[in-house]
Amino acid sequence: MDGKGKKQLAPRDNGAPDYRKYLHPAMERNYGRWKYHRDIRPGVFVHESESGESLYTVRAGSPRMMSAPLLRRACDIADKFCQGKLRFTSRNNIEFQLEKEEDIQPLIDEIGRVLGFPVGGTGHSFHNIIHTQGWLHCNLPGTDAAGVVKSLMDAFYEEFTHENFPQRVKVSTSCCTINCGGQTDIAINLQHHHPPVIDHNNTKLCELPKVISICPVLAIRPDRLDGRNTVEVIEEKCMYCGACHAQCPALEIRDGETDTLSIWVGGKSASTRGGPSFMKLATWGLPNNPPRWPEVADAVRRILKAYQAGANPYERVGEWIERIGWKNFFAETGFEFTKYHIDSYRWARTTFNTSAHVRL
């Protein structure tokens, strides 16, 4: 495990790169002095500074996973148009910045030609989907992430390149119940359906006390088998959360045959209006169906259509649903409301309708 580098490695503790060196010159000059912004067209907006300067931003959708050559081509564009600077957004888009309005169209053309990336994902559009590792790199996934996202972004390409929703639509995917993906307007997550199966020969790999103590419902207890220490899972208590699996691979929670996808709606981080909110179960039991997961795009489309038709301007997905009521949400999407939609976990009671408020 010893590196073969020239010197013995030692902590350098360099810390964070000095962002000041990397700022677009106009950003540097007008740092903290921005007055307002305006939307120019989908994917393009301008910020105006107190100094009178304008800074145009062109946002291009990226697949996040990129090869060095592809990234170098993005650098070429930035060198040509953006004084050698570019930035990424928290949703994996690339932002190219311009000082001159007339560069916008040439830049967009260049992005399309050189990178093949669409320009959009701003304002009231379907934003780029954030996602996690999936089968490409993680050791826990029950599904892929990049593939689901590619399939969805193909399906909602028009929605990405236009701003036709009442408000921004943010989507995320995750590939196991740990959910590294974001709490967003719409989320596509994996659902397990069985307690973990224990590979008793493998439990030596892990620290038993750790795996026992990680279970939130105390479903794992020590056991002995063939004279060796192992664990057992109390099936009735286990709620298939997969925390133990993340701790110890010998507790296998996944099942290629039965794992499904579920869709969640109404998550929000922004403190705008009513504030942040959790996303809630919309529908479940969608097949884990690579390479194109068509059922997922269908379900998402149902939500988007109802949202587009019914929401008031500026209402996020969750706000729209709260206003029309979940009864109408289910009616308008055609999803079925089941007993599984009713919370049964720790704060379940606080989700009950404790009033005589009913829509009849």
Binding site: T177, E235, T258, T260, L281, G285, K327, S344, R349, S355
Partner: protein, 423 residues
């Protein structure tokens, strides 16, 4: 022996002030019924010591498992007349309506056998008749029953049912609260008199969402009047209202307070998107000369309310969004729901576990399954936000070939420690 000259330095201070004084009244009564004097003396002692001097145990009238709250004084030697000082709970007339004959009858019985003091009414709705010793208790019970009265609830059974005045004197009433109170009391009188549930079960009936019977916060099964067609609007009266109060006032205090923003004032007309109306009553309350509940009426049934002990406060939540309550058939459907719940909770509830606590333990989804009630999005303010779901649809034998068992109350029963864990 009547005690005409009670000196009670602390309690005497409660004779002062404009509000009617129970001390003054009881002192008067002490002249007729000596035990009331001793009651006051013991109370004075409590005021002095910051301490209570009553002990309770169970006393039952034969054939009844409840209805009596037995009290023995710790100071029985000093105050022998209140050494035994029990309360009888008597079922009130629905709506708390009385003829003076009926009330006088109670007064007489109360004085003939006991201290001649009553509380009208107890928090649950009973007529509380105070101050009987072991012997008089049996006698007064017999006398009450002879005259058609009946003992109220206590212990682990159905409790005496209170209701709002409803159709008898309220324009908001969406069903006949008094009739349902009598129907349920009479039909289930055995569950009231011979308690055999895991714990108490309270109904409270309100004719509309104003909930004048406090059902949501204080009963296991609130029954609240509602409607499923459109709010009735008298646009002329609306115009009159707008004229008197001004459109700004109307917007500020009526339409903008609608929880779903489904009511609008346009000019001097009210427009309502009834699909989004949640029957909160606000607009009707304020503009009650112009608006009224719809005509296709029924009830919303809720479940699981109670006050503090053990669980902290619990408000009841929607169980059946709409149930008609007009024909005999409607009443039977209603009762069938009640009975399914009692069967399921009765069989699987732990001792001393209110139905709301039972739901917390097993989960509302499992409860609906067990009681045979169809899940409805209106039961929740929102679906779950966590993915910890055990779908039966995917369950298959897995662990060492054993048959798969899904989340089930039976599994939870013996395992007390789980009560406060997640499921």
């Amino acid at each position: 022996m009547p005690d005409d000259d009670l000196k009670l330095p602390l309690l005497d201070q409660l004779e002062e002030g404009p509000w009617p004084s129970f001390v003054k009244d009881l002192k008067e009564q002490a002249k007729r019924r000596p035990q009331v004097g001793q009651l006051l003396k013991q109370l004075e002692q409590s005021y002095e010591d910051h301490w209570d001097y009553w002990r309770g145990t169970a006393i039952n009238v034969p054939g009844y498992g409840g209805g009596v709250i037995a009290r023995y004084s710790d100071l029985g030697e000093r105050f022998p007349q209140v050494a035994q000082f029990h309360t009888i709970r008597v079922i009130e007339p629905p709506g708390f309506v009385y003829s003076t004959d009926a009330l006088r009858q109670l007064c007489d019985l109360s004085e003939d056998y006991g201290a001649g003091i009553m509380q009208l009414h107890g928090m649950t709705g009973d007529i509380l008749m105070l101050g009987y010793d072991n012997e008089k208790l049996m006698e007064v019970s017999e006398a009450l029953m002879e005259k058609g009265w009946d003992l109220g609830g206590s212990g682990n059974g159905m409790r005496t049912i209170p209701c709002c005045i409803g159709p008898a004197r309220c324009e908001m009433a969406c069903y006949d609260t008094l009739k349902l109170t009598k129907y349920l009391t009479d039909k289930y009188i055995g569950y009231l008199h011979r308690p055999e549930f895991p714990y108490k079960y309270k109904f409270k009936l309100s004719g509309c969402g104003n909930d004048c019977a406090n059902s949501v916060s204080r009963s296991d099964m609130p029954v609240i009047g509602t409607w499923r067609d459109d709010i009735q609007i008298d646009q002329e009266a609306v115009a009159q209202f707008v004229k008197e109060n001004g459109p700004d006032w109307a917007v500020r205090n009526v339409t903008s307070r609608c929880p779903t923003h489904c009511i609008h004032l346009s000019g001097d007309r009210i427009e309502i998107d009834n699909r989004n109306c949640v029957r909160c009553m606000h607009c009707i309350n304020v503009m009650h000369l112009a608006l009224a509940p719809g005509r296709d009426r029924g009830v919303t049934m809720l479940i699981g309310g109670k006050r503090t002990v053990r669980s902290g406060e619990m408000l009841a939540s929607v169980l059946v969004p709409f149930q008609k309550l007009e024909s005999d058939r409607d009443y039977e459907e209603f009762s069938a729901i009640v009975e399914r719940i009692w069967d399921f909770w009765g069989e699987h509830g732990n001792e001393h576990e209110r139905v709301g606590e039972f739901i917390d333990r097993i989960g509302l989804g499992a409860f609906l399954d067990g009681a045979g009630i169809v899940p409805d999005p209106q039961m929740v303010t929102n679906p779950r936000s966590n993915p910890y779901i055990k779908f039966e649809e995917y369950a298959a034998p897995r662990l060492e070939g054993e048959p798969h068992k899904t989340a089930n109350v039976l599994e939870h029963e013996p395992d007390r420690e789980e009560d406060f864990e997640g499921k």
